[in-house]
């Protein structure tokens, strides 16, 4: 075990995969000389040279499309899109091409592509630069969408994504890059599509992913001080979605709250709560609740931005309400 930041875990993993497989290469805006807007590719151009770490023109659709073409040939491109927001310019290439090729070519062409990109607000980047659009991609058959919440998962899921033969959207979060955690040494390959119990508990299940898990764990720790036992499920993958893990958790706790950074309407939480309603309704002691963002373009002013984003206080409040609604007593 080594304690690493989320950023360093990603950087180490890219280095390890570039070393292991010469077909792996990195491509994107400002990832070489500049080492990436968030320094995830620090040092890699120097080590691997411009054929393996490719700086491109300012054109997301361009470099995503080019990466797809090279993946059809058997290369394993790892695309960096500066932020998830700019993936909208490449969305046709991702949704209509990367995700469809395997099917529409009759299973004869694989697209072993990874798109790494950070989402999330809270960085004072304003409405067009702060979105959580992962559910757009999680909706699409043919894509995989993974969203690690900690450095160990960042390593194991990125390794798995690069080795996976399907296109994978690898969702990072601007608010996670500096977070630290223990990372197992040596090769670690996660199973894509497997959720994790991030904290065990008995009274209520909080389901979350990516940065939301960090907040959920903080809240669980706080409430433990009052004798309330929260179980936190970290989805880790939004497609494929591991429905079993959170449903089993709800069977145990009988209460569930979804904590998500995206919008309430048609968000990740809608899928989770519908699944719980369909699969384990009889175990529920209270309605499943969702804590999500205010449905507004995210403001730029820090206090307004924070007001619009779901936070620990909002999660705590909804947990208490859910416990009260079910007649919970310590």
């Amino acid at each position: 075990m080594t304690e690493l930041t989320y950023r360093q875990a990603l950087n180490d993993t890219l280095r390890a995969e570039l070393t292991r497989d010469e077909n792996v290469y990195l491509i994107g805006e400002e990832i070489g000389v500049f080492e990436g807007s968030y320094k995830i590719t620090a040092g890699l151009l120097k080590e691997f040279g411009p054929k393996r770490v490719v700086d491109t023109p300012i054109s997301e659709e361009g470099f995503t499309g080019v990466a797809i073409g090279s993946a059809m040939l058997g290369l394993r491109p790892v695309v960096e899109i500066m932020t998830l927001n700019f993936s909208l310019i490449a969305i046709d290439q991702i949704v209509n091409h990367a995700a469809k090729m395997y099917g529409m070519f009759g299973g004869r062409v694989k697209v072993p592509l990874v798109i790494r990109t950070p989402g999330g607000g809270g960085q004072q980047l304003a409405a067009t630069h702060s979105q959580n659009l992962e559910v757009w991609y999680a909706h699409i058959p043919g894509l995989k969408v993974v969203a690690p919440s900690n450095p160990a998962d960042a390593k194991a899921l990125l390794t798995a994504a690069i080795r996976d033969d399907d296109p994978v959207l690898f969702l990072e979060n601007l608010g996670l890059y500096n977070t630290k955690g223990d990372v197992p040494d040596g090769e670690q390959v996660a199973e894509i599509g497997r959720a994790a119990i991030a904290r065990e508990g008995t009274d209520l299940t909080v389901v979350s992913y990516s940065r939301g898990v960090v907040t959920a764990l903080e809240v669980a720790e706080q409430l433990a001080g009052e004798g309330i036992s929260i179980e936190v499920v970290d989805l880790r993958s939004l497609r494929p979605l591991d429905r079993v893990t959170f449903c089993e958790s709800v069977k145990k706790t009988s209460r569930a709250v979804v904590f998500e950074d995206d919008m309430l309407s048609y968000g990740v939480g809608a899928e989770i709560s519908a699944t719980i309603g369909e699969a384990v309704f009889d175990w529920l002691d209270a309605p499943v609740r969702r804590v999500a963002a205010a449905e507004v373009p995210l403001p730029y002013a820090k206090p307004l931005e924070l007001a619009a984003m779901p936070d620990a206080a909002a999660l705590t409040k909804v947990i208490r309400e859910t416990l009260a609604a079910s007649g919970y007593r310590k």
Partner: protein
């Protein structure tokens, strides 16, 4: 070499796009080079008017320096400096007619100044107090576009609207060298040519797209692309305010008279960081900056005035007084800005608030009311 011909509605013709046709009227040493084809477009610009352009550039540089300082002092979240690009912005903006519309990127604060946008509104967005600082219809200028290249298409749409109205105004869209790689920007050129929209494509080639040198976007002059789309093009010294004004007037004259789109590559240099979050010493040579300092748009005009004994104490005092007063007003306006209320988070999502948001809003108001004194 590609050539396209641009004719002034009335008289002689200008051949465009040739290496020899790099439009420059005042060089880095302040020497005025007569041009048989271009001079007529700025024949009316007297030395007194040139002094006004000089004043604009000095004032805009001062605003820019002041804004950078305000950011460093924690008064602004971010600022995209225009240091070095004053001539490109002032020369083009001062060529516009009042009814011409501007679709800018995020760096055109000098253009906004020329449009009469209130000084505090220049930084309202960057201070985080509002998403839209000014009313675009009042100033005929949209607010900053931060998704690279998108505004070029909006310019074409606006231009098509002008044609439909039967009006004779034009649209100018500003974008950078980096933006020329985006699909949107290339598609905008196609649409502008197809519909012969009255659009001026004004590319400020400041040599950098954050950390990427222009060579990564284009292996030849950026201006060479437009003719392939059927759009006549000019390459102009973007640090020469007079040449920029001439080129923009040529393009606007075409647009105002049914001549369709024109492309201008203003060759300039971003002397500062990309934004206040950036440190350009990490990726570019000090030599390059020094080379461009020698081509500074403001000092070349001073040299020009000096050579004509026009850089008088009076002019210097006038310009300094103006810059000082603008800077003081700008700073006070920024710091004294009224803060938005927390509940304004729910404003301006749709014209009428929908039930889901209304519910969120009232729940949030109730939540805030739990705390002493509400908000």
């Amino acid at each position: 070499m590609l050539r396209s011909t641009v004719s002034k509605s009335s008289d002689s013709e200008v051949d465009l796009l040739d290496d020899r046709d790099f439009v420059q009227l005042i060089d880095a040493d302040g020497i005025r080079h007569p041009s048989p084809t271009i001079d007529q477009w700025v024949a009316d610009v007297s030395d007194a008017q040139l002094a006004d352009l000089y004043e604009d550039m000095v004032v805009v540089r001062r605003i820019d320096v002041e804004a950078t300082a305000l950011q460093r002092q924690g008064e602004l979240g971010l600022w995209p400096p225009l240091l070095g690009q004053e001539a490109s912005q002032i020369g083009s903006a001062r060529a516009l007619r009042d009814d011409d519309f501007i679709m800018p990127s995020y760096r055109e604060n000098g253009v906004a100044y020329c449009r009469g946008v209130a000084l505090d509104d220049l930084v309202r967005v960057w201070r985080g107090h509002a998403h839209g600082s000014w009313d675009p219809s009042e100033f005929r200028m949209a607010i900053p576009a931060v998704i690279i290249g998108a505004q070029t298409l909006h310019a074409v749409g606006y231009g098509v609207g002008i044609l439909r109205d039967g009006a004779d105004s034009a649209v100018i869209t500003y974008f950078g060298d980096g933006a020329t790689s985006q699909g949107d920007t290339n598609e905008a050129m196609i649409f502008a040519a197809t519909y012969q929209a009255p659009v001026v494509f004004f590319c400020q080639n400041n040599h950098w797209a954050i950390s990427e040198p222009v060579g990564l976007q284009a292996t030849r002059h950026i201006s060479e692309r437009a003719p392939g789309f059927g759009i006549p093009s000019m390459r102009v010294d973007g640090n020469d305010v007079l040449a920029v004004m001439a080129a923009t007037r040529i393009a606007l004259d075409r647009a105002h008279n049914g001549g369709g789109p024109t492309y201008i590559e203003a060759v300039t240099y971003r002397m500062g960081p990309h934004t206040t979050s950036d440190d350009p010493t990490r990726y570019r040579d000090a030599d390059e900056l020094a080379e461009w300092k020698a081509k500074d748009p403001i000092s070349r005009l001073e040299k020009y005035f000096e050579s004509k004994d026009l850089l008088t104490d009076e002019l210097k005092a006038r310009v300094k007084a103006k810059a000082d007063s603008v800077a003081a007003e700008f700073r006070a306006g920024c710091i004294g800005m009224e803060e938005p209320t927390i509940m304004s988070v729910f404003d301006h999502v749709t014209i009428e608030i929908d039930p889901v948001l209304e519910r969120q809003r009232s729940q949030y108001a109730a939540y805030l009311a739990n705390f002493e004194g509400g908000e």
